[in-house]
Amino acid sequence: MSAATSGAPSLRARPAKRTDKPQKWGNPGIYFIAFLLISASVGPVVYIVLGGFRTNSQITVSPAGLPNPWVFSNYVGVLKSGTFWSEFSNSTIVGLVTTVGVVVLGVMVSYALARYEFKLKGAMYSLFAAGLMFPLVVAITPLFIIIKDLGLIDSLMGIIIPQIAFGLPTTVIILTPFLRAIPKDIEEAAAIDGTSRLGFFFRMAIPLAMPGVITVAILAFIGSWNNYILPLYVLNSQVHYTLPLGVQQFSSQYSQDTARVLAFTSLSMMPALIFFSIFQRRIVGGLTGAVKG
């Protein structure tokens, strides 16, 4: 295979093969099955969204029916409430900072693991892999005490830093092969040109591993957005609440108002859905890359 010169371009050429400006309509049978699958996947979501457009009596009388008439007050009420937006912004801040932290730290460590040789390399990798065995819910008590000792209780940082830590195993496991897959030839060519290893890191490795980086970023953001158990124990004041906490609190506060709860719930999942739909190409591409190498 042609080395340095075709290494980079061939990697960049990969997306062209993946691009499906597809050619033809498929067999209707396939579309039917796809339709079934999609209805099953999206059905409950639709139920939640539509439920917000109904009144409680509609829901009690006809649990599986359509809104009749369509009622907007629930959604409007939630959109007007300061609580929703403050929780939304908290979730956003936490999500963004977590993502940046996970990506930065993860890329740095994965690069070291992927392209340097040192004695403890295998052990370090296994260390991160072992972290997969210890989920947040299991660690919560000692973790809480550590967070408290750092003075981070009831602060967003008290959520962000543990989330970064717990996001590292998946990140390292996904990114290391990506970074490893960059041919040595490119690196050697760059070295001959006078680039340091770290220069190579910034200028070439990261751009080449971008699909993996983006996958990791998306997974980190979604994971942070949906995290429930950690904010439940670390955050005390409502001004700091994130959305999942808000959903649970709202559903108990307005428990009798099922329709309003559904409206709040569906608005809470919108950001994750929108975020995902913007980046879905990258996610699929990233997962593709992770599996293929």
Binding site: L11, Q23, G26, N27, I30, A34, S41, V42, P44, V45, T60, A64, G65, V104, L105, M108, V109, Y111, A112, L113, Y116, E117, S126, L127, F128, G131, L132, M133, F134, V137, V138, A139, P142, I146, I161, I164, A165, L168, I173, P177, A181, K184, E188, I192, L198, N226, Y228, P244, Q248, T258, L273, F276, Q280, R281, V284, L287, T288, V291, K292, G293
Partner: protein, 336 residues
């Protein structure tokens, strides 16, 4: 993407650990420059790895160690632990029928997840792997459940699966009323309901992974086989499935670990106390009920350690016996 590149990378991701000392180095510099280079290299490694290591060890590894420490005590959570019981907590754990049931449920969930989601995901991926119009949209839509938080999934499904909820109502309205039942409270059904919800949430993820794996299989192979007269299913069985092997094994690994650690969904839907009664308790809910909720922090820490060890043993076993096959399997040598 070049074949050798992909092959080499595939080999690496299978192993899950790193090869040390591969690939040629450039022409060796003078000994002095090499030493300076090595020292500088160590500095770079330290700089690159230390932030992640500090954060990770401090907030993930250290709690593991702390949990192990607390697990040797009977401790109510305040002040330092003083009531040493050694392995006493562990003895209670393994003789408690509630824990045994929880472990059983975890085992069932692991097996059922693999058996239900695996073949289904592969079939669906095969179906959707055609270059048809709308493929991108389909992929997006089936991935939606994965993106939604478990709190929302739990809340939504709790409402839908009530005896007077939307699911039973829909069944009545299409004439399948005899199927309407108490999906959540009947101990005979509850676990299957849980499996249904889990499948709903994670099948999209599995399909996307399988699709990715399928896309790395060159079309020429199946075309060649077809020319030789193989039927569609023969092609799948003898070419596609084996080449999909690495993907399947990775997905299975993630699925197993996830199933062992299941907590959020069960907690949100069945609440803090009754998952055992409903037949859906897991090790994690057992830990919450007998540990934190009961104020027995020492006992709860011991359960946490048990969960960790179970996951670790399964993972090590899996890596050693299942993933290792890929190293000397057809993948690394056949595709070239």
């Amino acid at each position: 993407m070049s074949e050798t590149l992909r092959t080499a990378a595939v080999g690496r991701i299978r192993r899950g650990a790193l090869q040390v000392g591969d690939a040629a180095h450039a022409a060796s510099p003078t000994p002095r420059a090499r030493k300076r280079g090595r020292g500088r290299q160590r500095l770079e490694i330290a700089l690159l790895t230390s932030p992640a290591i500090i954060v990770f060890v401090g907030l993930v590894i250290f709690p593991v160690v702390l949990a192990a420490y607390y697990g040797f005590y009977k401790w109510q959570g305040y002040g330092p632990p003083t009531d040493w019981v050694g392995l006493g907590n562990y003895k209670i754990i393994f003789t408690d029928p509630a824990f045994q049931q929880a472990l059983e449920h975890n085992g069932l969930i692991v097996v059922l997840s693999l058996v239900i989601q695996g073949p289904l995901a592969i079939l669906l991926a095969l179906l959707l792997n055609q270059k048809i119009r709308g493929r991108a949209l389909i992929r997006v839509l089936i991935f939606v459940p994965y993106v939604i938080s478990e709190v929302i999934v739990g809340t939504g499904f709790s409402l839908m699966l009530q005896v007077t909820g939307a699911v039973n109502d829909a069944l009545h309205s299409i004439g399948l009323g005899f199927l309407a039942t108490d999906w959540l409270a009947d101990p005979n059904i509850a676990l299957w309901t849980l499996m249904g919800i889990i499948t709903w949430k994670y099948i999209g993820f599995a399909v996307i992974l399988m699709l990715a794996g399928l896309q790395s299989i060159p079309d020429e192979l199946s075309e060649a086989a077809r020319i030789d007269g193989a039927s569609y299913w023969q092609v799948q069985r003898h070419i596609t499935l084996p080449l999909l092997g690495p993907t399947i094994r990775i997905w299975a690994f993630l699925s197993i670990i996830g199933a062992l650690q299941l907590f959020d969904l069960v907690y949100i839907i069945w609440g803090q106390y009754i998952s055992g009664t409903a037949g859906t308790s897991t090790m994690a809910t057992y830990m919450a009920l007998n540990g934190r909720l009961a104020g027995n922090y020492g006992y709860g820490s011991a359960v946490a350690v048990v969960m960790f060890l179970v996951s670790l043993v399964v993972a090590l076993f899996y890596q050693r016996f299942v993933l290792r096959r890929d190293l000397r399997g057809a993948v690394t040598q056949g595709v070239n």
